[in-house]
Symmetry: D2
């Protein structure tokens, strides 16, 4: 291990992500009474700011929990035992959400897809049309499949649901898309948007939340799964605290600063920055692959290449975990590994949140250096291609 | 509001509590991959350290959640819908835990008590003896009732259960006692010890945990309440991560430092320090009350006066909330308020965690100053009595 | 040593002083190019802000140095070898400044005084009147003698100089008065005001500065003592950097935040706060002394009792250093010791900068506790008197 | 300005340099009494550690000052008015040191040299041989000329002095070499080694110091330049404080942590790291220049290319300041500019202190990106050459 090595670790995992110094400093402070006027103002500003990021004017519930907690909150607030959900397969995280729903007693149907391509809107439409009796209570989609770097077309799926004339609730996991690329809860008719703190929001793990539509809130009133910690009704009743137990004030200190940074830069500028850096990453990858049989983009759907994470599949005979260890141990570059069946075959570059050109170029150049050190074949000129991509704008 | 007033806020709420600078600094750092060897070592050290604080060699499960989350985890892992629990009334928090259990579908019986005195062990024994069929699946006790400053005798209740020969599980909420005064999970036969990060452990809110006995773990295998986020079996299966979703590494950075501080000082020394500072607080309160009809100790059971929080009931005709506003707005001293039916009648001085003589004396002297400013009657000499109590040791 | 003891150290030395968390956080950041536009704006704001605190519209020079560096800067910029200065005796620091001037080759005359009383304005007037040939080139005064808690009347000395019709330059050391109690450079005709960072300005030691009048700047042009690091002409020539060598950007980051805090509270409010807290300190001391032969105020001139530091002389037979060790080792309270001939006889309570009622009361109560622990005689009721003084306003 | 741009600033100025987070955190703490046992231990450890870095067992004096302060300290402690010094021309900083010496009243002779090459040891030897009467009291050399990226051969100059049999004192400025590449005060017979905090020592500007030989200390006893703040005799007399005025404890907190990091990595490993990163920088530069008439290495002496800073001279017709503004404003990359006559012609890449491969590669790739954006000609493949240089080891 290179722990005593000098210099900053380059952190390019797809979550948690780099925490800006401004956020760390905002959290490096004495605590406050969570019921004090001073904190409640911060709390309230965070709620308003998060709703602007989600692009919703409807409801928001925040939990002291990981993103999986917000997954569970959506399920237990909306459904009764045995109800059917349709989840669109995209990869490790769609599988994991389905597993959770099953273990909570729900009947989960998976709309199958190739992980490198994802579900076609027409397939969703067709399945919903076939559901004459409206047994399907909800459609669940992972906006950005963090495990594969595939971004699902949330608006197109909404249109498919509408075309099918199906009343299902629409639940979308925005954990690794929110604050990275476009998401519009109200405009796209999303009923529950699931989000977490540690990706595009750039704060430590520990807060997650649900944007909730009026329709979903109404549905929650008749849902029978037992719940208390996650219960939206209880949370509404506890205004202005809106929390089950002690409010985690430090995470809100961080969130308040992160939201200030987001508003200073502007969501549109943030999305353009992510698109620019993602494109440069892909250009490097294409050159490594095309010019020398190097690692290849995992996602094969050009319109679905994610702007927040790029997954690369290793050339045959080369182990992604060995390569990742070289990157971290020799050069202090932290990359994401493959999840589930992709372990050892895929490595992932997170390019979301607190990031700029020199950071990304440093990471890409170090990937190239680590490929050399690991004797992984790759075409020359990947970094030069990334530089050129960033210059042509 | 005195927000621009100069000088450090004196924070004497009974949770969250003062976070040591060492802990804040340990959290003020770049993130780590939660699956990296470097983090897993920190993670593992935290588990071992927490178990030493709980005085258990059995199991531990940690959640990204408030303390209420750990309450819920204990309930959903152990019970099936409709099962009966017996909860010992102590105050606001025993009521709140009972409410949660009911909303999760359990049948909760409350063993009634005067909040200023609490349940007698003999009453518990008698109730359990009467439960011939062992319908009661568990006994629930709040070790330290944060709302009233009453510490329940956990070991004596254990003896009462044993004398009754009752097989009920024994769940104890140690949220505001752990790391403040004596608690011994294994020796006292506690099956689930519920703890949180933001009191005696001196770190921000957001982590909570359950110490779990073998007996409880076995019981969880047949429990039918639906669960996933809190599920102990799932957490065990996810070793070494042991977490549902992304591990909140920053809270563990803080916990690791806090546990180092606890081991440096030693639990016994920590308990003596809390006892000494609590006694000084009570001496001040007795003088304020006895010498001038000032605020009075809420807890009337001398053996149950808490070493982590002291609740004082205001003289008739004086509003506790008005007094608290004077303390915070004029003198930057944050005190706890009354909860539930005690709102306006009680204020609370938290004296737990990161605390020493000058901090406590500064708070007590400022309470006396704020009593003067608020024209609340009180005997003279309270602070001098506290000084004398600290000198006589 | 109590280093592993829990809880915040109470720091009541008369310099350095408590650094507000806001200032520490402002300094906890990556560096900047000291010639960048971004830094030059911060730099310039600091110059403007410091001038407002000094109440001058004339010149300011800032050094990377301790306060002694600014002493030396004033001397080497203004004088030629062998020139005569008149320094008003006040205590350890007037002696130390005189020593420096002598070692730099100047002819220093000390206007003698009892350290517990200080020089009378009439004595200064008389001495200057006697200096028919105006051999005395400058009058030097320490505004607040940090070693004894005596505040010199700078405006009255100005009047004495004027009444004598003497053209001497007027140099005033404001190191432990600036930002604590009233100082007006231009209105009081001060030619050089010497200041430092680590007292009323509440930032770490390492920056010091001179407010310089037009008259002093003109005088510097003919002064012959060799100089470069401290040279005002060189510093003016290096605008906008205005520094010899690399600008210490982190100290300016701290200063900028400290000046923001000062402007938020307002100098008048700051002075009232210091006066209030100083009065409470003296009330406690009077009771300790009058009611029981305890430590006594060192300064015997009622009009000159300092609002930033109080020096107490121990009862006969009791060693101040032993007492201080008890305070720090048993109770984590840091107090100042006696300097020079006062070592062992005097201890000092600094009450300047980042301070409020609970902090001061905590310190005073702990002084009383440490007096008890050390078996130093003292009247009862000191802290109660301080509380009463703070309530009567 | 890109101030609201997201992501960390890449700071590649040749001083101040990147401050490690560990150092910033070590400084983000409450103050200490500078005379307390706790601080004096830290202070003493810093003195011992600094002497190990200087490789001396002789004397050390530390100042609250910039590096220029330590320059001045060396001069005023060692010399009397009118004495002659011989300074070896290397660039802006040798000129600036000479200017200071002249203004302090010394007679400075400059041994002339081309800034792109520096003085030859034989020229020094010849000049000293010619000084039959030993009028030259000292030889002054800047070890690493920060303005040009030229490293002087300090050991070879020592040999030249010895060959000439000349008794001159030997003063060496190690400000931008110490902690970056090899320096051995005692072995190389250096009498005064001048150092500063903000380069290889990786802490904020504000501390500087002199390593002082026995011979120099003896010489100081007869030196006549007036001094007090910098006076070594006074500093020795003030042991254990060893400071004129209040010790700047926060800078020592930082220094203590920095020295811990240096000892953890080891000076030899640190030097190898600097050599490796410097070589990669030069490889990139050579390709930019050779393959396309891009910026060229300023230093033309292959053996003197600095391992801590690389200066590049722009192609004819291109302004270095315009290019630097693009780098900082568009891409948040801070580079050094040309000093004195090199302003606008040269830009500088500092590669010293807290640095690793991804940081350097990110900077070099961004230089290339900024060259493209600024339409500065340059050969393709610079970054690829740097990557290759780092892989070949």
């Amino acid at each position: 291990m290179n722990r005593n090595g000098r210099g900053r670790q380059f952190f390019f995992n797809p979550g948690p992500t780099n925490i800006p110094d401004r956020v760390l400093r905002a959290m490096d402070r004495a605590t406050l009474d969570f019921l004090s006027e001073e904190f409640l103002e911060i709390h309230s500003a965070c709620h308003e700011g998060l709703k602007r990021v989600l692009k919703t004017r409807q409801h928001l519930f925040v939990y002291a929990a990981t993103g999986h907690g917000a997954w569970e909150a959506g399920l237990v607030n909306l459904f009764s035992p045995g109800e059917r959900l349709l989840i669109l397969e995209s990869g490790y995280f769609s599988e994991d959400w389905a597993l959770m729903a099953r273990r909570l007693g729900l009947d989960v149907e998976v709309l199958k897809a190739d992980w490198r391509v994802g579900v076609a809107p027409a397939d969703l439409e067709q399945r919903l049309v076939a559901d004459k009796g409206h047994a399907i209570r909800a459609v669940l989609v992972v906006h950005n499949e963090t495990a594969t770097g595939l971004a699902n077309p949330v608006a197109e799926f909404r249109h498919a649901i509408d075309r099918a004339g199906h009343p299902a609730l629409y639940l979308v996991d925005t954990i690794s898309s929110l604050g990275c690329f476009d998401f519009r809860m109200d405009e796209w008719g999303v009923d529950v948007a699931v989000g977490g703190s540690q990706k595009g929001l750039m704060i430590p793990t520990g807060l997650s939340f649900s944007g909730v539509s009026e329709k979903a809130l109404a549905a929650s009133r008749t849902a029978k799964l037992p719940r208390h910690y996650w219960d939206w009704e209880m949370m509404q009743a506890r205004a202005p605290q809106r929390f089950c137990g002690t409010t985690p004030v430090h995470l809100f200190f961080g969130l308040a600063e992160s939201l200030r940074m987001i508003e200073e830069e502007g969501l549109d500028a943030i999305f353009r920055r992510h698109a620019r850096l993602a494109r440069a990453t892909r250009e490097a990858a294409r050159v490594w692959h095309a010019n020398g049989s190097g690692p290849e983009l995992f996602c094969r759907a050009p319109q679905r290449l994610s702007d927040s994470v790029t997954a690369l599949i290793m050339p045959e005979g080369h182990d992604a975990e060995t390569f990742r260890r070289t990157a971290i141990n020799r050069f202090n570059l932290s990359l994401g590994g493959g999840l589930g069946p992709l372990l050892g075959r895929v490595f992932r570059i997170g390019h979301m949140g607190e990031l700029n050109e020199p950071m990304l170029l440093g990471a890409l150049a170090t990937v190239e250096l680590a490929l050399k050190e690991s004797n992984v074949p790759h075409g020359p000129g990947g970094v030069e291609a990334a530089i050129a991509a960033l210059a042509n704008r």
